[in-house]
Symmetry: C2
Subunit: 354 residues, 2 copies
DNA sequence: CAGTGCTTCTGAATCGATACAGTACTCCGA
DNA sequence: TCGGAGTACTGTATCGATTCAGAAGCACTG
């Protein structure tokens, strides 16, 4: 049988509480007794307080659940995601907290059950559509939740670390418009719920189900509307997933037909790099023949000379952790909006046709 | 106050156990009563059995701790690691189990404490040197542990999913030796405990502290000894970490001096890709001027035309999960050695000098 | 020597759930 | 009408820890 606090207490001939104190409140007993207790523990092969029992009593388990609707491997393919998680892990570590990775199953019931049974102190949701069954299950748990996206203004209790998505792409769009670009293509994932790479001409930004893509598309729409390019004139392509390969395929949809767009706007750097791949295989020069812009500013963007919108991924993760583990009293301070910045590199330039 | 099983039981006027049964053993009570209980629960905002309390009673938490001695971001930079974790996550998901990521702190005491307090059912250690304080802390917990590396034969209880590291590089080394290569350079991380990129001429394989690097170097040593190239003639370079950039820098140490090695052997694909980068910047042709070989066979190896030793990362992860969550009765079957395979691509060829 | 204050230790209550033995009740057949 | 089987539910012990009020012991003070 495994030994418990009680076993050790009996062995030494003291009470359970005293043994407990020996481990977690050394100042409450004499060093001699403490040593005697540890001796007995060693003899009995007792490893110290059982974490499960401790967490029941303390009401704290030392782990936060990280929710995302994707496979693990996919989640960690994007350096942006990795940076975010790293920031989160940094803060978590400061608070002696681990990260419980919960890639959510396709099956809605199973996903909800996973959320219900997770032994965690809170949740960090990351790239999880509003309509997902896990969102409701989370609310039921009544644990603190922090999101990496802005939540509906409806809930003043909501905690999030976000950026102003639409403002960021509005600025980026204006920059491209000023360079003379008028024939535009947009590539994004989750423009439609289906995971397919294909043009989706009809979609208006408002109809895009996933918050991030919706906002970013809206920003671009507004920017080009200012120079007279209306939304229906902009080619929008849905990428099956946020990967280089999918984006390269998506880019083919618009590159291989005339007239070719002069600028391709992607909602992430992963997608933008795929677009660059597509240009490369066709012998087209980025920033001369076709301008390409991304979002996130991952390390590869620098080496690829990709113009992009920088968002502070690491900082987002750090602050998300802080909001969960050490929330400010003031509710307003629990809704953080971080700045973004347009980083101009070689992949954008004046529109080629005069 | 948060509502509990008891609260709901009082509200409905039944016993605690009945409410418990309503949630986890529906066949033990009438559908009517069950509905009544759920109604009350909804009214009171009770979300169902508390996972922490349940896990205390059941003796099962539903999470396994994943240990590695590195930052999160580093761990997920290597596609091999990601694949392994994906396999692990797959099996875990089948057993309704989550992964608790535990990047271990530098501080030995803190790392040990983290292991002691982790609310988990078992540990999977991955890329953790034997000397690390967490190893001892783990043994104390007396929970099942699975390693992704072969453990000392001393412990017949040890569970691991490994490959025959030395045999793999022995085969790879022989292949290169047969191609005529005699001037060899080796690049590995953790040849010495310090995280610095620099030649480490003196190190013998036996002295390398980290198991994986030690074995792989030994395999290569033996292969070249067979054709008369003794160990001291082989240039060994320590890479600060398992990254492309570090490897490129490490490769510089041997490429920029005469006579240049005809083959550079890296203990991982990440490192090998860095070597290819270094060749590229110097206008050297892989497989002609310098042969390069890696280890792992990550996806990028295919596109880069990298000759490498394939190891089944995904399968390793899956089996590691199975060993932890559904261990075979037979102790011998808990020690799995998976096959490896030499995959020849364009980055290796006959030694250039006749 | 009673009274005070301090440290050290004890014992009981508590957390939220599950397991199990036992009770109450219904139903059926003889 | 009685007995036995089966179902629905109750009450209590238990898991392994933490917490807290208070008891015991001790030294010191007046």
């Amino acid at each position: 049988m495994r030994s418990t606090l009680q076993t050790v207490a009996d062995e030494v001939g003291v009470s359970r509480s005293t043994v407990s104190n020996a481990y977690s409140r050394p100042d409450q007993l004499s060093p001699e007794l403490r040593e005697k207790i540890f001796d007995a523990a060693r003899r009995l092969g007792y490893a110290g307080p059982d974490p499960a029992a401790r967490s029941l009593r303390k009401g704290r388990v030392g782990a936060i659940g990280v929710l995302f609707s994707a496979t693990l491997s996919y989640a960690f393919t994007d350096p942006y995601a990795v940076q975010f998680l790293r920031g989160l892990a940094e803060t978590a570590e400061l608070h002696d907290t681990g990260l419980l990775l919960m890639p959510l199953a396709e099956d809605a019931t199973a996903a909800a059950a996973a959320v219900q049974n997770a032994v965690v102190d809170g949740f960090c949701v990351y790239c999880l559509p509003d309509w997902h069954s896990a969102q409701a299950a989370m609310r039921l748990r009544k644990l603190p939740v922090v999101s990496s996206e802005r939540r509906d203004a409806g809930d003043p209790e909501a905690r999030f670390v976000a950026i102003d998505e639409a403002a960021a792409t509005l600025a980026a769009g204006r920059y491209l418009a000023a360079l003379g670009h008028r024939r535009i293509a947009l590539i994004a994932d989750w423009i439609v719920p289906e995971r397919e790479t294909r043009p989706v001409a009809t979609a208006r930004p408002e109809d895009v189900p996933y918050y991030v893509s919706r906002e970013r598309l809206a920003g671009y729409r507004d920017a080009f509307a200012e120079v007279g390019v209306e939304w229906p004139e902009i080619a929008t392509v849905n990428a099956a997933q946020n990967s280089r390969a999918a984006a390269a395929q998506a880019a083919s949809c618009v590159l291989d037909r005339a007239p070719r767009p002069t600028a391709i706007l992607a909602v992430s750097d992963m997608l933008a790099l795929g677009v660059l791949d597509a240009l490369h295989t066709r012998g087209l020069r980025p920033g001369r023949d076709v301008s390409v812009i991304g979002f996130d500013d991952i390390p590869d963007a620098t080496t690829a000379g990709l113009t992009t919108v920088r968002q502070p991924a690491l900082e987002k993760g750090r602050q998300a952790g802080a909001l969960l583990l050490n929330p400010p009293e003031d509710l307003a301070q629990r809704q953080v909006v971080l700045p973004t910045e347009l980083v101009v590199r070689a992949s954008t330039g004046p529109a080629p046709d005069a």
